[in-house]
Symmetry: C2
Subunit: 321 residues, 2 copies
Amino acid sequence: MHSFIELSKIFEEKFNTRHFPAHTKTLYDPAQYILQLGGKRVRPVSVLMGNELFDEITPDAYELGTAIELFHNFTLIHDDIMDKAPVRRGLPTVHMKFGDSTALLAGDVMFVRCYDYLNKLKSTSLHKILHIFNHTAAQVCEGQQLDMDFEKRDTVSMDEYVNMITLKTSVLLAASLQLGSILGGTTERNQQHIYEFGKSLGIAFQIQDDYLDAFGDPEKFGKLVGGDIVANKKTFLMIRAMEVADEVSKNELMQLMRENPVDKVEKVLAIFKKCDVDTWANELKEKYLQTALQHLEDIAVLSKRKEPLKQLALFLIERQN
Amino acid sequence: MHSFIELSKIFEEKFNTRHFPAHTKTLYDPAQYILQLGGKRVRPVSVLMGNELFDEITPDAYELGTAIELFHNFTLIHDDIMDKAPVRRGLPTVHMKFGDSTALLAGDVMFVRCYDYLNKLKSTSLHKILHIFNHTAAQVCEGQQLDMDFEKRDTVSMDEYVNMITLKTSVLLAASLQLGSILGGTTERNQQHIYEFGKSLGIAFQIQDDYLDAFGDPEKFGKLVGGDIVANKKTFLMIRAMEVADEVSKNELMQLMRENPVDKVEKVLAIFKKCDVDTWANELKEKYLQTALQHLEDIAVLSKRKEPLKQLALFLIERQN
């Protein structure tokens, strides 16, 4: 058994290599660029942990983890194009550095490469693994589309937002854990519990993400604080504020979103604080964490094997970037 | 055995259905939209023909053909975004109708769907099929990147252009035929000959494509004639013209590309004709066709089984759209 930190190091060492051919550098260098920006490698480490919860880590888990990390980075490149995001992990996004067209294509070829790694799996469950992977990938696309649809709408309900976030963020974490557990040879029932653990944890993760965008420390955060506010994103915080703000504050929020003044971020944050949205977000995050931990509890395996997953949960919801 | 026309009809009937879920319509309707614009379905029909050259068509061939047609349409959606193309098959491109971001994402999810179909294959050669498919998909991305790189350069040699076209266009046709032949259970040697047949035919196909862009009948062509000229694409025709034009015409061509006057297409076409580029293109096309037919000849199977592939070759190089 390894701790979360140990598994992160082990994965990072294997992953820290060039994943693309040396030729056609104008395509592959931009793809490699985003991989070298670092990142938490939460999803591939989740594959390793899902595996090790039930059995020794198989070589397949590294291939599968690499595939999932490449998939995740492919979505980051394309999302950044769609969101016109200038900065990721403190450095220029791929499309800012190499142009939109090359970024689009670098994302595409990263997605192809991801299936190259999946095709290396020796597991007899390859068919099921591909099915879950493809289903999850489609859900992530659906989530991104809903996110964009919501930007054009005046109001989004909390249920709609949770559904969108589940698709865009949670299912990939959940699937990473489940796929790892399949490599570990566990039962269908245990697979479902680890999936649900990941799904609730993913929502808690997103609440923290939304929280950090508004209230994070700019030096630690690595992205521009208030980016969601500038982009009129309906986040957990914004939807909550629209639900609980008095009429005056609500109208002010709507006006700020329509008119985009230079002091928009500052003014929106003031309303968030007036509505205690920050406290509320921390409580909601805690609620999802508890649901996740209950599913972890329900997995039929020795409880000492579950320690790394508890560490993962705490890491994800306490992180500052 | 079926003729090319028969196989086209059989495939089209099976393919003419919704390939995406009913929900998240804002994502899936744009993806379905491009599939309903029609098209020649050359690549999936090539899968069927590669299969039937050696054995009865297996159900796998339809799944594989569908996967390849979805992959092809995914590249069309993304290429049209990159090329800022307004029209495809006489109708608005996906990004013109639904916006760049949705088109990008609709392409992504179509690519996911393509792997769903691949995952339905029953073939014991699935591993090899996925390997060839992934390798080909990466080559297509490389070809598109080189195409964009060339647009920024003043000169491109004929060899560089042929290499780019081979990657961007030919290898997918070649791989479709080879993958079909794998389903037909043929030898490695026959697989290589059918691959090379497709590769040379794909180049002949592209020569015809470049020719039609310049000299096609606007009513039959379905795209804006002269689109490559407007976009300063280095086509077979442009590269040849730059090679053989006298100094005056060459300088005029370079000036036209720099300055983009309103009568650019007209003036470039006049130079093309003065240099006999149209006659040259037809001869080059014929040369590649003969190479292709020689590889077809070399496939070790009864020659009457090769008839549909000869029909395919003639269809591709004589088509007017």
